[in-house]
Subunit: 363 residues, 2 copies
């Protein structure tokens, strides 16, 4: 793949060694340009008119189809949300669950997944069970109604054994915040019922964008937790709550045109580089970084063929700040002794060698 071409689309890379797409990815030139076109359209045209609404609906439809292709599903199985957490809340809050029923999760989950689970426990008396990330499937019991866990652990970068989860027969919600856009995703092969993804991380989309895959068999059991005008098939009889077709009933309204255009153009930039090549290169670079860090005596945690590399530091907050000052945009993982580098296909071996040297030098 043409790394120089990809890097030239991402000007933030000139300022820092960008290793935090696990939080928010770099913004592409083409995406910002596309957003600006839509801002100007909103300025000049009447936003309150039917033409603008039609344009917004059209862009939303294109985005849904584009993301469905990335996920390996049909467009009507995709909801346009505002974040991975939105999708997780839509599932955990949308299912009829109560006392005596168990949601099974893991010990490597993000607050954006755990907070919705905590709410289900507090408000609805659902029981939570927490298993080690590698042993989730074997912790399924007769009262387990949902498995909710990461596709790729934000802590260790490990990839969940989705086949083992699917074989339990319990519906599976995967938190794909470190999945979609970072590694190849095929929701049918994963066998999950729900896959919640971020737009602003590995897909380099705007903050406030995300996606939720809902498998056909799982849609009818999911009530929208925050229904509005666009959830309805017939806004003329809202008290009957007639829901729109497909996962679109779970959309967070129609995305603003500048947000949708940004999302689409950012995916174009990644697709132009070649998605398979992008995934392969990012995983290879991450693997190389992990080996270099380990070779210099650092303790690298977990790992798998993902884009995340975490290692132990005596004072992870201080170490992240020190690396940041040296030009490396890494992050500390709160509540853990870990510093994490989120490696993108846009990184270079030179950048990662320098990180390994710098991280080593004072640990």
């Amino acid at each position: 793949m043409d790394v120089a071409a990809l890097r030239s689309e991402l000007p933030a890379l000139e300022r820092v060694v960008y290793l935090n797409a696990g939080s928010v990815g770099p913004a592409p030139r083409g995406a910002i340009a596309a957003a600006e076109v839509e801002l100007h359209d909103q300025l000049e045209a009447a936003r309150g008119g039917g033409d603008h609404f039609t344009r917004a609906i059209t862009l939303a439809g294109r985005l849904r189809a584009r993301v469905a292709a990335l996920l390996g599903c049909d467009p009507w199985e995709v909801a346009l949300t505002g974040a991975a957490t939105d999708g997780i809340n839509a599932v955990v809050g949308g299912l009829e669950l109560g006392p005596g029923e168990v949601i099974l999760t893991s010990d490597e989950e993000h607050p954006g997944l755990l907070a919705p689970l905590a709410l289900a426990r507090e408000r609805r008396g659902v029981e939570l069970r927490i298993a080690p990330f590698a042993e989730i499937a074997s912790a399924v019991g007769p009262r387990t109604r949902l498995i909710a866990c990461s596709h790729v652990s934000w802590i260790s970068g490990r990839i969940v054994d989705a086949a083992a989860l699917a074989s339990t027969g319990v519906p599976v919600l995967l938190d794909g915040a470190q999945g979609l856009g970072a590694i190849d995703v095929d929701v049918r092969a994963l066998g999950c019922d729900y896959y919640a993804a971020s737009g602003q991380k590995w897909l380099c989309g705007p903050i406030g964008s995300g996606y939720l895959y809902v498998r056909e068999r799982a849609l009818e059991s999911l009530a929208p937790i925050a229904p509005g005008y666009s959830s309805l098939s017939d806004p003329g009889r809202p008290l009957d709550l007639p829901l729109a077709d497909g996962a679109a009933r779970l959309d967070r309204g129609v995305p603003p045109t500048h947000q949708a255009a940004w999302s689409l153009a950012a995916i174009d930039v990644l697709a132009d580089a070649g998605l398979a090549a992008l995934y392969e290169r990012a995983a290879r670079l991450a693997h190389g970084l992990a080996e270099q860090l380990a070779a210099t005596g650092l303790t690298v945690v977990g790992r798998d063929a993902s884009t995340l590399v975490s290692w132990e530091a005596r004072d992870p907050e201080l170490e992240a700040a020190r690396l940041h000052a040296a030009g490396f945009l890494v992050r500390q993982l709160p509540g853990t002794p870990h510093v994490r580098a989120a490696v993108g296909a846009w990184n270079t071996t030179d950048e990662l060698e320098r990180l390994a040297e710098t991280a080593t030098s004072t640990s």
Copy 2:
């Protein structure tokens, strides 16, 4: 007030007679420029770094304070939502309500309020009672736990008798979609517990912006319906669900910087024109339009000192389309025989005279 100066900030007014801020308001030049500055900052700087996060938090804080001043409350009583419907869902979904308890509403409500109520009935067995808009307070019964209705009816433009509602002692949620930015709002004087406002309508902000006022005494009884990272005071222990201080716990994440900057700059444009003068002029123009329409024999419905003027048409959809083709951006109200003009201070008497003539000529 300087109408020409205000109009020059709103280029969409050159294309159409803009009478649909009740759906989406015109976008101001300064707001689009402010959004572009933030898009470029996101392009050039590292969005994944602490500096960007700090910038986003700072803009969110400024926006919260600015909107609190508009509402007449304290900043910590304001949540940054994505739409008025978001705020309504946060209240209706966030309260502990169940069978045997009643939510009282009116016969002039928007699907964005009715859909959340329908969900409360369907999922939690809450009873709904619907009273005529002018008689809500007298329909309160011993099992009424919440009054949820419009501040200004989107159908008739009538303003609710908030004092009568407050005197019932039942918590009141006002849907302020046609209130904040259109007429003077003072949540303390209104005596409501919750006020849900839109950002994209009368405040001319971006689609995907909204605000929720929650009175101090009402905050603790409200659980976030979709908690995430930013709902928590301590993201290090999400399973305990320690909630952030104030209404910010109900924020829909931290707004993207370009959205917050747009919102702030749009409020600046309105404030530069003078908010009191803006409200006075819009109400006066709307009153004049209603009189002209009535004088030509049309049936104007409801009315009050608001910015909405609705009238009956034999075929309202066709009439709205015909007026649209003639350059008037009005809307038909689905499920009613009404066409509605949402009059802004940016309109001129000439525009409204022409509308009255045109609407009359073929009805």
